[in-house]
């Protein structure tokens, strides 16, 4: 009797151990691949020793692995863009977006390759299969200027593009962090109220302020709402229903044509222009410029945000016309709007990774392209004239560079978080633009006094490096 019970106990154990075997088979073979692919699996980052490098356009190393440690020679300057690769905290930036290229070929399921690795390991060597190098469009000299200038402020972001190709020449976000000390610093960085991990240049959404008048002026001219000769009267305020708008950057600008209104940044005049366009036309042009649609970029990038068309009242529409209200834009997208003007009405597709080089041989080259053509070349030329006037005689004189025709637009974006955000968006030289720069400094005051000098310095460095 007892022995039968013991033998049943034996059967129970056989059953329990079979359940273990079954569950383990499921975990290791069936669920295994999807578990292994989870982003926080530190094994992704372990192939590090042979992980490819990330390079600037001139071959300067932005990220490389030395003795099993990932090094970022530029440190905080490009931290959010290049990103990090951490066994504990996953990956970000280019390290994340191009992880597949950077990671050495996976030999799982390839017995011959595995054998090769084991033989190599036994000889104390790594097998030759290394990850590809990712070559970016970053120009270190421009990057250095941009980051140094921005880092004088608490929170700021900027981007420099080549309007002809969409190549990102420099991009920076402040405050930043040191990716070389990432694992140690992460808990602090993550809880930092200044959000140093966020790339403000691509993901920071700000009211664009008067820089958005580039869009409004271009769209109003293109749609025929106004002409270059239309005149406006600005007493310093405008009543829309029971709502009063005031100029904030300039004073009351009096009687002006559109160039004057633009150069002196009259909110009142642009409120009139926007109201004249009407909600439907304004929204049609938002779509034409690709604002609000997902931004086609190699890294995650936020697109402009604004309220749905059917909820708009005239007061809000008027504010959106000069970049206030509920409208939000990223520095990258503002740079693209300026690039559209610089590029004769065609918005280039932005890119930062130029090519992937595998084993010294270029494996894939990013083709240049365009995202949209919202305005004609003639309209673009008109807007460019207005932007030249801003720097020559308007709110952006601080961006003047002797001997170079700089076209730009200031922005002073009021916001609920304190002082206005200072914006400046510009390109040069005006006749054959080679560089576009967009800069925002959070809660710093006037765009013309805070942001324009930064953009000017970046422009000056860039023009000396980027040739025709």
């Amino acid at each position: 009797m007892t022995n039968r019970a013991i033998s049943r106990l034996g059967t129970l154990f056989a059953l329990l151990f079979l359940i273990l075997a079954g569950r383990q088979t499921w975990v290791m073979l069936v669920a295994g691949p999807s578990i292994a692919a989870k982003p926080y699996n530190p094994r992704h980052a372990l192939l590090d020793a042979r992980r490819g490098r990330i390079l600037a356009s001139d071959g300067t190393v932005l990220a490389q692995t030395v003795d099993g440690v990932r090094e970022y020679p530029l440190g905080p300057s490009l931290a959010q863009t290049v990103g990090y690769v951490s066994t504990r905290y996953g990956e970000s930036g280019i390290e994340d977006a191009y992880d597949r290229a950077l990671t050495p070929p996976d030999t799982t399921g390839d017995p011959l390759a595995q054998l090769d690795e084991i033989v190599a390991a036994l000889r104390g060597k790594r097998s030759d299969a290394a990850g590809a190098d990712v070559v970016t469009t970053i120009v270190p000299a421009i990057q250095r200027t941009l980051y140094t200038e921005l880092a004088r402020h608490a929170r700021a972001a900027g981007v420099a593009l080549d309007p002809r190709t969409g190549a990102v020449l420099a991009i920076a976000s402040v405050p930043s962090f040191d990716p070389n000390a990432f694992d140690r610093e992460f808990p602090k960085l993550q809880s930092d109220p200044q959000s140093p991990l966020i790339d403000r240049a691509t993901d920071g959404l700000y009211p664009p302020g008067s820089t958005f008048k580039i869009f409004t002026a271009g769209s109003a001219l293109e749609s025929g709402t106004v002409t270059m000769h239309t005149r406006f009267q600005d007493p310093g305020y405008v009543r829309i229903g029971n709502f009063t708008l005031h100029d904030n950057e300039g004073e009351a600008t009096g009687n002006q044509d559109i160039t004057g209104a633009f150069a002196l940044s009259s909110n009142v005049d642009f409120a009139h222009i926007t109201l004249a366009m009407g909600t439907a036309t304004f929204y049609a042009y938002l779509a034409k410029w690709g604002i609000g649609a997902p931004l086609d970029f190699q890294l995650p990038a936020a697109s402009g945000r604004f309220p749905p068309q059917d909820s708009i009242v005239p007061g809000e529409l008027a504010q959106m016309g000069f970049g206030q209200g509920a409208l939000l834009m990223s520095p990258l997208q503002m740079a693209l709007i300026a690039a559209t003007v610089a590029n004769g009405g065609t918005m280039p597709r932005p890119y930062i990774v130029r090519q992937i080089v595998r084993g010294g041989v270029p494996a894939s080259v990013t083709p240049t392209g365009s995202l949209a053509s919202p305005i004609s070349a003639d309209t673009a030329a008109d807007v460019k004239k207005m932007m030249l006037a801003v720097v020559q005689r308007g709110t952006g004189t601080a961006a003047q560079i002797p001997g170079v025709a700089v076209a730009g637009k200031t922005g002073t974006a009021t916001n609920p978080h304190g002082a206005a955000h200072a914006w400046f968006v510009c390109f040069a030289p005006a006749d054959h633009p080679r560089v576009v720069v967009a800069v925002v400094v959070e809660n710093a005051g006037y765009g013309g006094t805070v942001a324009a000098p930064i953009a000017r310095d970046v422009l000056r460095t860039a023009l000396s490096v980027v040739k025709d």
């Binding site: 007892t2 019970a5 151990f17 569950r23 383990q24 975990v27 073979l29 084991i118």
Partner: protein, 422 residues
């Protein structure tokens, strides 16, 4: 001559086990095992253990051999994961083997344990009391007594004592309990009462210690013993139901149990916080695949406490599903042979003692492996012989030593023709 052959046959399993152990340990990283003479001492002790057995009886010599192979595998794994712990583990192995050898003469008279059955209860309570007073709290559970440099986890010994008590008590009362009708409260309470005191006290204190793994282990051992003794499934089911309720209660009252359950249901929802250890174990298992990464080629050291609670995940990563099957198979063979030792006993007490010890080892393997591979929430108990941990090694070596002594069958030595001529 015959005597030599017979003696050789007795030593053969251990000799083979030592050969396999040497092969395994050869893969341990260089210098991780400390002085070579210590390994030699371990081998000599293992050999001495089986060599010193009465000539007139025949024992199941596979039992010590399996214990040695499994602990050699454990030592190899610990050495690969943490050389520091490996050196301590070697000392603990020395202690375990010395204790197993020293306890040998007592274990041959294991039937005397029945006479002192309440002594085991008292001993358990004393150990618990010590734990309550001097215990160190680790990861929310109070499990350790620290004596100078030595940490000891008394529950590992208590698990043996409880089996000693239950086997002796049930051997006396089994018939009556079995005969009592389930609905007769008086008949049941009369004999089950003392059992529940012994069991319930351990349970209660375990819940106080917050060591749910050991509580589950003791409960399943208790249920198995009760079933073997009385074949009363109703009591067994009632006992399990009570435990389930207790566990449910614990889940709502101990935040750390709550966390463990949450981690079990979805380890990947908080992969950097509470779910870190569990998700790292899953990554290790996933990396293993069918054939494993190969010894030393995986990355199991991402798992916190890998040498204790999660050594099975480390093993699975590097030896793969195939290796895991072999290991589960080895444990299955060990449990089966232990159960067989129980069945082969002539009297009920010894049968219960054997079955109880076999069950406690079997359930311990099931509970920790099941926890590691996510069959149920992880409870921090050791994988017998493999995990780092002195208390577990000592207790499990003693368990095997006792069962090995119990496996003795009297054999009549065949006499050589020359001696039988007279």
């Amino acid at each position: 001559m015959d005597a030599v052959v017979r003696y050789g046959r007795r030593l053969l399993p251990m000799v083979l086990a030592l050969a396999v152990s040497a092969l395994l340990l050869a893969y341990a990283p260089a210098k991780s095992l400390g002085a070579p003479w210590l390994l030699g001492l371990l081998g000599a002790l293992a050999l001495a253990w089986v060599a010193w057995q009465p000539a007139t009886t025949e024992r199941d010599n596979l039992l010590p051999a399996l214990a040695v192979v499994l602990s050699a595998l454990g030592l190899t794994l610990v050495a690969r994961l943490s050389p520091d712990l490996a050196r301590k583990q070697m000392l603990w192995l020395v202690v375990s083997l010395v204790l197993a050898i020293a306890a040998g003469p007592f274990f041959t008279h294991f039937r005397r344990f029945a006479a002192t059955k309440y002594l085991w209860v008292v001993a358990s309570l004393v150990l618990f009391a010590l734990l309550l007073i001097f215990g160190q709290q680790v990861n929310g559970a109070r499990l350790w007594i620290k004596l100078g440099p030595v940490q000891y986890e008394p529950v590992e010994l208590i698990k043996l004592f409880i089996v000693f008590f239950l086997a002796a008590y049930l051997a006396e009362t089994a018939d009556v309990i079995a005969a009592a009708r389930p609905w007769s409260v008086r008949a049941n309470l009369k004999y089950l009462g003392p059992l529940f005191i012994g069991w319930g006290a351990s349970m209660a204190i375990l819940v106080l210690q917050r060591d749910l793994g050991m509580a589950a282990l003791l409960l399943s051992t208790f249920a198995a013993l009760l079933y073997v003794a009385t074949r009363r499934l109703d009591i067994v089911i009632a006992g399990i139901a009570v435990f389930a309720l207790a566990a449910f209660w614990a889940m709502h009252h101990f935040p750390y149990v709550q966390t463990r359950v949450a981690v079990w249901t979805d380890p990947f929802s908080d992969p950097l916080g509470a779910g870190y250890q569990s998700s790292q174990a899953y990554y290790a298992l996933a990396a293993g695949g069918a054939f494993g990464t190969g010894f030393g080629l995986g990355h199991p050291t991402f798992i916190p406490d890998v040498a204790t609670d999660y050594i099975y995940a480390a093993f699975s990563e590097e030896f793969g599903l195939i290796g895991a099957f072999v290991l589960i198979g080895l444990f299955a063979v060990l449990v089966k042979r232990l159960l067989a030792v129980g069945s082969d006993q002539p009297d009920l007490y010894a049968k219960l003692l054997g079955a109880g010890l076999a069950a406690t080892l079997g359930f311990q393997v099931f509970i920790i492996i099941g926890g590691v591979i996510g069959l149920f929430p992880l409870t921090g108990i050791t994988l017998p012989f493999l995990s780092y941990g002195g208390s577990s090694l000592v207790a499990n070596f003693l368990l095997v030593a006792l069962m090995w002594a119990m496996s003795a069958r009297v054999c009549v030595p065949t006499r050589s023709p020359s001696s039988s001529s007279r």
